[in-house]
């Protein structure tokens, strides 16, 4: 009895599975192409996915998304293109990836496609309106390979109420020394109030980003012009010691698990008095539905020390067309649609001007509505983005591009390795200097293997 019931159940499963397999396999839409886009799950992308239907109704081109976390996406798309591609038409790439992928011929140059636009279309799109430094970050050999979807720099957030209560005033252009003094005064760990939150989650894009800006502004750099690693140079050591000690003394506990999200949460809940991080957080921190201290958030430029160069970063999530795509023209239509001024207006109509993708076009910042909605921080964001130069971000000349990263394919590995070692220092199980000398050895080896050093 039991067996026959079981057997029937088994057969049922097989039949159903086969039916669905066959049924779905047979369904194959011909006609207009379908674009497959690899993307990350950031809030602006979610809005883009929701608005894709407008694109489809305008051009008749369907759009499918594959959404993954950033590191997984990078690994998957890299593996895909390196083995011949074919899965995606459009990839969401960052300012780190674009020059490297362009060099590897994994992305198609957009220059000829823009040149083919009719004068009217070119004027409507207005490529020159896109922030110049961002375009620079997305170019290789003077050709543009991706268009920015949203851009960001970094800045200082502080809690005005806590500052006022302690009788402190945050200058518009603070120095790191001042920040440290503020943190010391505002740190009350016994009441779970912390002076500052800084990322220490291992990762070249997590801990590595703010750390690199601190190294830059202290006058240090990752490599000298001969590509020799500078991790044990006086400036690099000073900057890293400063960063790590700041966290250990006046920063949040659990720092090695704290990335952007954790610090943002701490800031939004009033648990930390200061936070230096991406400008995109501004909108969320001032949104009363997401932040408990929405009215108390103050803004300042990212702190500097010895030099303002490289003190605030430049990043843009951008859309690029894969070289293996069979629908390049359709993909280009989507690219230009999603980064056009009309798209920005679409978002504004749906979610309000404060939700418009930031950091891509100068015109956004001149728009009266946007200024009203985002006034308090819009200027700082725009100025930061206009002055973050990926080709000049260190005190002394450097052989690499990139503000908060080094634009070489090996940096993914190097940055993560070094921040992992430093995380041990943040956790207290080793000293900063020994973590740095270990890192220096490892990085030197990697650079030798990759052919930069003899």
């Amino acid at each position: 009895m039991r067996v026959s019931r079981f057997a029937v159940g088994l057969c049922g499963v097989i039949v159903v599975s086969l039916a669905v397999l066959v049924g779905v396999g047979a369904a194959h839409t011909k006609g207009q192409p379908t674009l497959t886009i690899a993307t990350v799950n950031n809030p602006d992308m979610i809005v883009m996915q929701a608005l894709s239907s407008k694109f489809t109704s305008k051009y008749g081109i369907k759009v499918k998304y594959v959404t993954l976390p950033e590191n997984t996406l990078r690994q998957k798309v890299t593996s895909d293109v390196a083995t011949g591609g074919g899965q995606f038409d459009i990839a969401t790439v960052g300012t780190y990836d674009v020059p490297i992928w362009a060099k590897n011929k994994w992305l198609v140059s957009l220059q000829p496609m823009f040149a083919k636009l009719s004068p009217a279309a070119a004027k409507t799109y207005d490529l020159n309106d896109v922030i110049q430094k961002v375009r620079l970050g997305l170019s290789y050999n003077n050709a543009l390979y991706a268009v920015p979807f949203y851009g960001e720099s970094s800045m200082t957030y502080y809690n005005k109420k806590l500052f006022a209560a302690a009788g402190l005033k945050m200058p518009l252009h603070p120095t790191w020394d001042q920040i440290q003094k503020f943190a010391a005064k505002l740190n009350k760990s016994s009441s779970n109030q912390y002076g500052i939150c800084l990322r220490a989650l291992p990762g070249w894009g997590e801990f590595g980003a703010p750390l690199t800006t601190v190294v830059n502004t202290f006058g240090g750099q990752w490599f000298n012009t001969k590509w020799e690693p500078q991790l044990t140079s006086p400036a690099f050591e000073k900057a890293t010691n400063f960063y790590v000690n700041l966290i250990r003394k006046y920063g949040e506990p659990g720092a090695t698990s704290s990335g952007f999200t954790e610090c943002e949460t701490a800031m939004a809940q009033g648990k930390t008095a200061m936070w230096v991080d991406a400008t995109v957080a501004a909108g969320q921190l001032t949104d009363p539905s997401k932040s408990q201290v929405a009215k108390d958030i103050g803004f300042a430029y990212a702190p500097t020390e010895v030099t303002p160069l490289g003190s605030h970063w430049l990043w843009a999530w951008s859309l690029g067309i894969e070289a293996s795509s069979k629908n390049k023209d359709a993909a280009f239509k989507f690219l230009t649609w999603a980064t056009s001024r009309d798209y920005l207006k679409l978002v504004a109509d749906k979610n309000g001007w404060a939700a418009v993708p930031p950091g891509t076009r100068v015109s956004t910042y001149k728009n009266a509505n946007y200024k009203k909605a985002a006034g308090a921080f819009a200027n700082i964001v725009l100025n930061s983005m206009l002055t973050a130069d990926p080709t000049h971000s260190t005190l002394h000349k450097a052989p690499y591009v990139g503000v908060q990263f080094v634009g070489i394919p090996e940096f993914q590995n190097i940055g993560t390795l070094v921040t992992q070692n430093l995380a041990a220092a943040v956790a207290g199980s080793t000293s900063v200097d020994s973590a740095l000398s270990l890192s220096q050895q490892q990085v030197t080896r990697i650079m030798k293997q990759a052919g930069y050093l003899k």
Partner: protein
């Protein structure tokens, strides 16, 4: 088995009709399938391990380097060595921990009591959840240094608050994974326990054996094959533990929770190095085979000894 040469032909026919032939026919599809599906990737992995291929540098691809990747991994790479040690420590701890826990749960669930079905379902539930999701929940809910529930209990007992993932990373990972794998062990051991008849137990009790003696002399030996199965299978799966480390500690701080699978993942996804990651994979196979062989020998010897009949 030797057959006289003269009877070879007749022997072959007889063989085909025999049990032995039937046995092989039954086995063949599965074996052929496994060979087809697993050996091709393995051979390709082996092939790549003799080359240099950096995904993000097309000019550094498919270059023959012979045993250079192996030489580096086995003799030069300090992180790989740390990863081997970490893997052994962490895997052994999780296997032992989940086995003990699973056995305890199985013993408890082997009794009759009201709502037994629900209790069993609750105890199996952790295994249904995706490891990365479990890790996210536990990282934020339990191990958060300020408000995690673990610290809440810990500080109420009078101790200082601890940043578990930073200060005791291995222990945190082991604890999370043990919780996840205990149901696996429990499922297998429960099947074994339920097979031990009441008559055998009654006989033992009549002879005056207490619960502890009954457990040692009867339960444990009869469970032997199932413990063996659970440990062997569990070890093979747990050796590949990845999700928890990926979410909670990222192999750190430093390299304290970098295990072989995690390190291989870093090599392929961070360094984009196909050659080295393939070599690491092959070395891992060799290491696991050695450990599995040793384990098998230890297990069969200890349980064969303990059988009562």
């Amino acid at each position: 088995m030797t057959r006289p040469a003269a009877e070879a032909a007749r022997g072959r026919l007889a063989f085909l009709r025999s049990e032995r032939a039937g046995g092989i026919v039954l086995l063949l599809p599965a074996l052929a399938y496994l060979v087809l599906m697993t050996q091709a990737p393995f051979v390709l992995t082996l092939w790549y391990s003799f080359h240099r291929w950096i995904l993000t540098s097309p000019d550094l691809s498919h270059i023959w380097v012979g045993l250079d990747n192996y030489r580096y991994t086995l003799t030069e790479d300090p992180i790989f060595r740390t990863a081997v040690v970490n893997t052994l420590v962490i895997t052994a701890s999780i296997v032992i921990g989940s086995l003990v826990l699973g056995l305890a749960f199985a013993l408890l669930l082997n009794r009759t009591f009201p709502l037994r079905g629900i209790a069993r379902a609750l105890m199996i539930a952790p295994f249904f959840v995706m490891p990365t999701v479990n890790a996210v929940v536990q990282k934020n809910l339990f191990l958060n240094p300020i408000f995690g529930l673990v610290n809440w209990v810990w500080t109420s007992l009078g101790f200082h608050r601890i940043d578990w993932l930073a200060v005791h990373p291995k222990f945190s990972i082991i604890a999370m994974a043990t919780w996840q794998w205990a149901p696996f062990m429990m499922l297998i051991l429960l099947a074994g326990l339920q097979g031990i008849s009441d008559e055998v137990r009654e006989a033992a009790r009549i002879d005056g054996a207490g619960p502890v003696v009954e457990f040692r002399r009867i339960t444990l030996p009869l469970l032997g094959p199932y413990i063996e199965l659970a440990v062997l299978l569990g070890m093979i799966y747990i050796l590949q533990l990845f999700g928890e480390i990926y979410v909670a500690t990222q192999g750190g701080p430093g390299t304290q929770t970098t295990t072989i699978p995690y390190y291989i993942y870093q090599t392929i996804s961070q360094a984009n190095d196909v050659g080295t990651s393939s070599a690491q994979g092959v070395v891992a196979v060799i290491l696991v085979s050695i450990v599995a062989a040793l384990l098998l020998r230890v297990l069969t010897r200890s349980f064969r000894k303990g059988l009562t009949s």
